[in-house]
Amino acid sequence: MSRVARAVIIFSIGLTCGRLVLSGGFSNFVQVHMRIPLAAASIVMVLIGGIEILNLLRTERNLDKVWSAPAIGVVLVAPLIVLTSVAPTGLGALAASRSDSLAPSQTSADYEPLVADASGVADIRHSDFLSRALYDRKESLKGRKVRLTGIVVKDPTIPDGFMVTRFMVSCCAADGRPMKIAVRGVDKAFDNDEWVEVIGVWRPLPEADKPTDSEPQTSPVEVDAISVAPMKDPPESPYETPY
């Protein structure tokens, strides 16, 4: 690969990553706390590529004559090409329907009571809701109004609603696992991948379906919908993290 081609690749990757940071689009792919490392890496790449380009423009009359980098480097254009031509967004209904819902582990032996806002609704993360629904002996969810935000994932087993879904992402979107909560009794139609805010009440599992040590959860955790509203803007971080 010619040296100027190498410099152009590094410079372009730097710009593209920088754009992802500035537009917030990076959170579709990696966690929000990667913002600063990614921004720093973008600046370094723009500087290294930029300095190389300027140096070569200044000192060489025929840029492509000077070459140094190994040929494999040319595949580095692939992520840039994919980003512009496919313009992928975050994980969605297709990824969610490819695997069963993640059953979070038991986070505590003794769950704190839910804290509700002025209107009597408690904001709750998917992982916390699922963990309480599966393991809380004191049933802190029972009869409480909760607010869940996530994307709509339609499911043939739920004719009167959908799965409100959020992904648990540990590192990057490639390890994302869906957390699905069945919303029952929805009278409006929603499209897959639409961001919604669901207010509802937990519907306890029948005793026979409760998970045990040897048998993990199989039937979905459910809520009875009180209201389902589409969201104008998706949350800053589309995913939940385990820490």
Partner: protein, 373 residues
């Protein structure tokens, strides 16, 4: 047509304009160097990027759900790895520019009995994941470090550095034995491989590295580098050192980065082809789950700083099989395999990869049985 132009300017204006300038200024690539491998001109880089920007959203099959999902997985593995890769190539560039090879030889004990465990412990000092340690190990070998010690460092750095151990502790709260077991099993794997390599004929590795040097360095900066350090009164001083740094960092970035992208594509493809639900149903059998977790570590190519969270999220698998996942991941996965083959050579990878894979599994199973409850 106007609309198209407008759109692509807003989409990727900076990138494309710089690329376009380069490609239009250089219609004729000019005389080429006499070599089997022809250099890839800048147009080969710039033209596909321009076409992709123009095609944005216009090509039907690119919007198929599976293509979009593959793209999301592929881009996220790449984007997640870039910051760590940049950190790694900055360090490797700094090693090339300021650390004389004599110093490395003086610091590293001569006999592998000592140098290998020393290099293994030195791995604790590099916070990062495996993408960064491949270019660093390659650079250390080029600068004259014993391959056995450098390879020990390559295996230990991504597995036992503080960031990885802390994230493991967070992922398995209330169970410190997982952290201890991970540290022990990874460290034992690294030094076992190091000693094994020191007893082998290192020919395939060094042959490939020399070959790379001859082919890739038109202006052989590595030679400037050695000259520079041999004669400290060399008058090119700081600017030469700076250009060595930039050149080494840029070179290692496109080299390791290229293989990283190939590995990311392979990992994204595997994830799409093998559904997780299949894996979940095989988890019941202990031997089978050890095999499955080792293969998953190989295929998923998750960063070592985050693999503990993934392992914690698979409670249906036994603790020992999840330890196998944690020990194998930083040693070998699809993207590492691709990077190792690229940086150290295919012949090297054919021997090194399967051996380190097996040693990692055995060490994790043994340590798991001893340390884990």
């Amino acid at each position: 047509l106007f609309k198209t132009e407008n759109r692509y300017h807003t989409q990727m204006s900076g990138t494309i304009t710089s690329a376009q300038v380069q490609s239009f200024e250089q219609p004729n690539p000019g005389p080429r160097r006499k070599n089997r491998r022809r250099p890839i001109p800048v147009a080969a880089v710039a033209v596909p990027m321009v076409i992709a920007a123009l095609a944005n959203g216009r090509i039907g099959f690119l919007q198929w759900p599976n293509v979009r999902l593959w793209s999301t997985l592929f881009v996220s593995i790449s984007v997640q790895a870039f910051p760590f890769l940049v950190l790694g190539v900055l360090l490797s560039g700094a090693i090339a520019a300021v650390v004389p090879s004599e110093l490395i030889n003086r610091l590293v004990p001569e006999r592998p009995v000592f140098s290998v465990p020393a290099a293994g412990l030195a791995g604790m000092a590099l916070p990062g994941c495996e993408c960064g340690s491949v270019p660093i190990a390659g650079r250390l070998i080029r600068n004259g470090m014993q391959p056995a010690a450098a390879l020990t460092f390559l295996l230990s750095a991504p597995a036992i550095n503080p960031v990885v151990l802390i994230s493991t502790a967070i992922a398995f709260p209330g169970d410190r034995s997982v952290v201890v077991a991970r540290f022990l099993a990874s460290f034992i794997t690294a030094i076992t491989i190091g000693w094994w390599w020191s007893r082998r004929d290192g020919a395939p590795l060094s042959a490939q590295m020399d070959h790379d040097d001859q082919n890739d360095d038109h202006h052989n900066h590595d030679h400037h580098n050695h000259d520079h350090h041999n004669h400290d009164h060399h008058n090119r001083g700081q600017s030469s050192r700076w250009s060595v740094f930039i050149d080494a960092a840029a070179r290692d970035f496109v080299h390791a980065g290229g293989y990283l992208v190939v590995g990311a594509a392979a990992a994204a493809t595997m994830q799409l082809v093998v559904p997780r639900s299949v894996l979940d149903t095989v988890a019941r059998n202990e031997l089978l789950s050890i095999a499955i977790m080792a293969l998953m570590a190989l295929m998923l190519s998750i960063c070592s700083e985050a693999d503990a969270f993934v392992a914690a999220g698979l409670p249906q698998f036994s603790l020992t099989s999840r330890l196998v996942f944690l020990v194998v991941g930083p040693v070998l996965d699809l993207k590492l395999l691709s990077m190792q083959a690229g940086v150290f050579g295919h012949r090297f990878a054919r021997v090194f990869a399967p051996t380190s894979f097996l040693v990692a599994i055995i060490s994790a199973v043994v340590i798991g049985k001893v340390v884990l409850k």
